[in-house]
């Protein structure tokens, strides 16, 4: 049996989802006829979508990531304000292909979502190991910024190996 589908996995999910429902409904007793089926459905979908892979979290990495994310997120909002309000619409958009260096699915998910919330980049499509990114302004060092985000994500997941560089990827093919 897959280790991630263990009893502890089930119990922790019951606690998390029941807790979430409790918080959202302020513990209203009459909400449970809807809440219990919702929790069960969430657990079922969670297990259904679960990938059999071991992920290890680093608390320090996660805190550093959250701080980095909050800071960049505010900058990201201001960037949109600037571009939207400027009558000249300062845009130099591009579709950019970015070969992912992260290897695990969990890390990739976090990276793809983060890219969309940080300044000037939006993940548009994933093709194999390549992420198609829409950049608002290719005048910025987009690739360098993506590298930084990737390193931050890798720091959240312990033991996450980054593929060395684009050349190794090519030779692996």
């Amino acid at each position: 049996m897959d280790p991630s589908m263990s009893l502890t996995g089930l119990i922790s999910r019951i606690i998390v989802y029941t807790g979430t429902w409790y918080v959202l409904t302020r513990g209203a007793a009459d909400s449970w006829p809807v809440g219990i089926p919702a929790v069960l459905a969430a657990i079922y979908i969670d297990f259904k979508l679960l990938r059999p892979e071991k992920t290890r979290w680093s608390v320090a990495g996660l805190i550093a990531f959250v701080l980095f994310f909050l800071k960049s997120s505010i900058y990201s909002g201001i960037d949109v304000v600037r571009r939207t309000f400027d009558p000249r619409l300062p845009l130099d958009p591009a579709l950019v292909e970015y070969p992912l260096r992260l290897t695990s699915c969990a890390a990739r998910n976090l990276f793809i979502c983060t890219v969309s919330l940080l300044p000037g980049t939006l993940s548009t499509a994933l093709e194999g190991h390549t992420l198609v990114i829409h950049a608002l302004d290719v005048g910025r060092p987009v690739e360098h910024e993506l590298n930084i985000i990737e390193n931050r994500v890798a720091a959240v997941f312990k033991h996450q190996e980054l593929m060395n560089n684009f050349e190794t990827r090519e030779s692996k093919k």
């Binding site: 918080v23 302020r26 958009p93 579709l95 829409h134 090519e170």
Partner: protein
């Protein structure tokens, strides 16, 4: 003091939400509109929720605001990715000044194999 912080957060949050709406109108194509909706929209709603948590300064409400922010952060980029993806594959025309695959020529190494074939 709490009220001032609340007011600042609410006004800032509303401003970012307004920008998200304006971006929808002003920006020239689907994908760029998603930029405005995800970044400014999430930030705006997030700031309003933090303002609410500040105003009530109550454990239950703070917890709920945090849960709502978490769900926003989880769902907004996924929704944007899906819409962007749909636009990309259905070949919706991008703004005429868009560079297509600008870096692709430098990095394209052929067809990558799918890491998890269905």
């Amino acid at each position: 003091m709490n009220e001032i912080i609340t007011a600042v957060l609410l006004v800032l949050g509303s401003l970012f939400s307004l920008v998200a709406a304006l971006g929808m109108l002003r920006l020239p194509d689907t994908v760029m509109r998603m930029h405005a909706a995800t970044k400014a929209g999430t930030l705006g709603a997030g700031l309003i929720l933090i303002g609410e948590a500040f105003f009530y300064a109550e454990f239950g409400i703070t917890l709920r605001a945090l849960a709502a922010i978490t769900f926003l952060l989880l769902t907004a980029p996924v929704a944007a990715h899906l819409i962007g993806r749909a636009a990309y594959y259905s070949g919706i025309k991008l703004w005429q000044k868009t560079w297509i695959d600008q870096l692709a020529e430098r990095y394209r190494t052929g067809n990558y194999s799918d890491p998890d074939p269905k």
